[in-house]
Amino acid sequence: MKRRDFLRNSTAVLGGGFMGLSLPSALWAQETPVSGGTLIWGHSETTQNLDMHQTGTASSGRVLQNIHSSIVTVDKDLNVIPGLCESFEVAPDGLSYTFKLRPNVKFHNGAVMTSADVKYSFERCKDPATGAVNFEVFNNVAAIETPDDLTVVIKMSAVNAPFLSRLSENGAGVIMPVDSGPTQGTNPMGAGPFKFVSYEVGTVVKMARHDEYWEGPAFLDAVEAREITEPTTRLTGLRTGELHMINDIPLDRVGELQGDATLQVKTWFPLNFDFINMNHTFEPFQNPKVRVAFDMIIDKEALMQGALWGQGATTPSPSFPTSAAYNKDLKQRAQDIEGAKAMLAEAGYPEGSLNIVFKATTNYPYHIETAQILVEWFKMAGVNLTIEQLTWADWLSQCWVDKDYQMTMMNFFSLWESDFLYYSVWNSEGAFNYRAIKDPVIDELTAKARVTVDDAERAKIYQAVQKQIWDESHDIILWFRNGTIGAQPAVMGLDTVVHPNGSNLNFHKVWLKA
């Protein structure tokens, strides 16, 4: 089977929800890994803050994930599984969690991990003075008890069903040695497979193998994450052999690289979902007819082919495609320009009367392409759309914080636990409800899910939430976008690199063929 066909096949099943790898990794499964070598990785983004707790950006997390280990993590199906703990137990009332820690886990400084380190790390993350990005994960934590060196008991003041899942995400669940907080920003230290060596701002982060890693030492002697933000330059580096591996191949170049027999390409799904946002405080968008009509103007498949060059799959629901919460009955509205025109006229906005500014951030170049394609369709429907490109700082301040926009688009990681996703993004009280959506049906459903213990029942509630979002066209959910990696043929174990969350890269099992 040709690589191309393989991709097509895997994309076909993506809709059903599978991880899609365009790499025939089984071929290499027989080869015996060898130790040694330094992997040069062309990283697409700039690492900013080395303190795992204070890091909100995926870019820093992608590197630091190799330095830290988490108390719990997730498997391929996103089930929470033990990490630095041997086992965990949730009390039937949901008010206490007991973690049994692995014995003899060594930090990079040689110290053995104990319950005191866990208590220290969680309390540091919870403390507002730390400035931790995920501090709210610990909001309901009343006390952290350490009955012995290998047992941690967390007492909650209220039931918080998503607690464990949140610990498995970036940041909140990592364990740092006691009192290492003040130096985490300059010399990050944890129990991960690689030790921090050095960091030149904007240039490179160097890491070396941690020989006493609890899951066994990594094969690579060292990893060098060179920061190359310019996509073409990164691609050139890979082609000239300066780099062993790059992440984030420009979407338009994936096909070209897949056709190149001298390089490996790996795509996976989904990296994130994208959606178009309409500000619900903007008068025309208070009318659901206008929102539905806007949805009808867009041909999602054509838009995906246009903006992502086919590197994704359209979806009407933002839930992780393999999760129980994903509503399989929903279908995206088909493009119907005439119908949209009629509906807009009915809503009191005849042709030519709507002038809308679409704010798109240059942080995601494919958002700019998306917007340019939209302009054409909206023109056909008699809506005048103008684009304003915003830097990331401007987008965050105007759209995210000040809600000063009419239309925009954004992407989020699909991994998010359902409660976190639907409550924060669509509940009227949600922290990420930057569209000012106020839907009593969603409010009621998301509140109900929080206190529903039965998993199947909760999944049903979230499916109802997705239907409500679609019915009212609160946002226009577009697609899941693929993640991409390109590598030299000598890089082995590429299928282990991507963490199930689709964003982090872990080099523990990667090796270089001589």
Partner: protein, 271 residues
């Protein structure tokens, strides 16, 4: 008129005439939609009979884009230079004519602005005001002002010491009158020369700002924006960079050549 007829002057004038004609006539002949109309079946199509200059990453015709983009690019450049003259002329004139304390204060101000690289200044202004065509004009216009003010001040200083100005002053003509009647006409040639050369820089500055995402907004066409979009595809679709690059190069070349000849004629000292 004869002195324009050097090879250099002729080439410069012809280039500028062609570009001006394209910028003015183009939008009359080509429907405005032609620059943004997409053809998803012909993305990054190389030059052919159907698309003479090829197409870009969204299947838009490069020939229509470069022609319609001429207007945007030139509009921004001309408006920005006019603005910098409007700001820099009074500043330089007053400073150079009066000298002394006024000159000191104004020139410290100009020095302060001059210490910031022009692109950095334009970048910051654009970041503060937000990106759109008007703000791009303001950003470039303000960033260029100190340079013009400096040059105009030098000229005004020279002219203010001329015997005819002394004479006018002695005859009791007011300072304002002297500046308008005697100083201004004599520094005008230098302003025109500097303005022509600044135009070339303004076109490059618009390209630079668009390159960083702070200039003209898509899907509108401007040369800078087109070059910006081409940087990720130069190796596989070189025409997307060559076409707007050539347009910028020819315009700047024309302006520089014309400016040189203009300088030789209007400003004989530089010979």
């Amino acid at each position: 008129m004869k002195r324009f007829l050097t090879t250099k002057g002729l080439i410069g004038i012809v280039l500028l005439l062609i570009i001006a004609a394209v910028a003015i006539i183009g939008p009359m002949v080509i429907p405005p939609d032609a620059a943004t109309a997409m053809d998803m079946t012909a993305r990054r199509a190389p030059p052919s009979m159907r698309h003479l200059f090829g197409t870009d990453q969204l299947g838009r015709d490069m020939m229509f884009r470069v022609i319609l983009g001429a207007r945007t690019s030139l509009e921004i450049a001309v408006s920005a230079v006019v603005m910098s003259i409007a700001l820099g002329l009074p500043l330089g004139l007053i400073s150079g004519y009066f000298g002394g304390f006024v000159d000191n204060v104004l020139m410290r101000l100009v020095d302060t602005l001059l210490a910031f690289p022009a692109l950095l200044l334009a970048l910051t202004i654009s970041a503060v005001l937000g990106p759109n065509i008007q703000n791009t004009i303001i950003a470039i216009g303000v960033a260029f002002t100190p340079y013009l003010a400096r040059i105009i001040r030098g000229e005004a200083l020279r002219v203010a010491q001329m015997p005819y100005v002394e004479a006018a002053r002695a005859s009791g003509t007011t300072d304002g009158m002297i500046m308008i009647r005697h100083v201004l006409p004599n520094i005008l040639p230098a302003v025109i020369v500097q303005g022509t050369i600044s135009l070339a820089f303004a076109i490059l500055a618009e390209a630079g700002l668009s390159f960083l995402g702070l200039g003209t907004q898509p899907p509108a066409a401007s040369w800078g924006l087109m070059i910006q979009a081409s940087r990720d595809q130069l190796d596989i679709a070189p025409w997307t960079a060559v076409v707007p690059g050539l347009a910028v190069a020819l315009t700047v070349l024309g302006l520089n050549m014309f400016g040189d000849v203009l300088r030789d004629i209007l400003d004989p000292r530089s010979k």
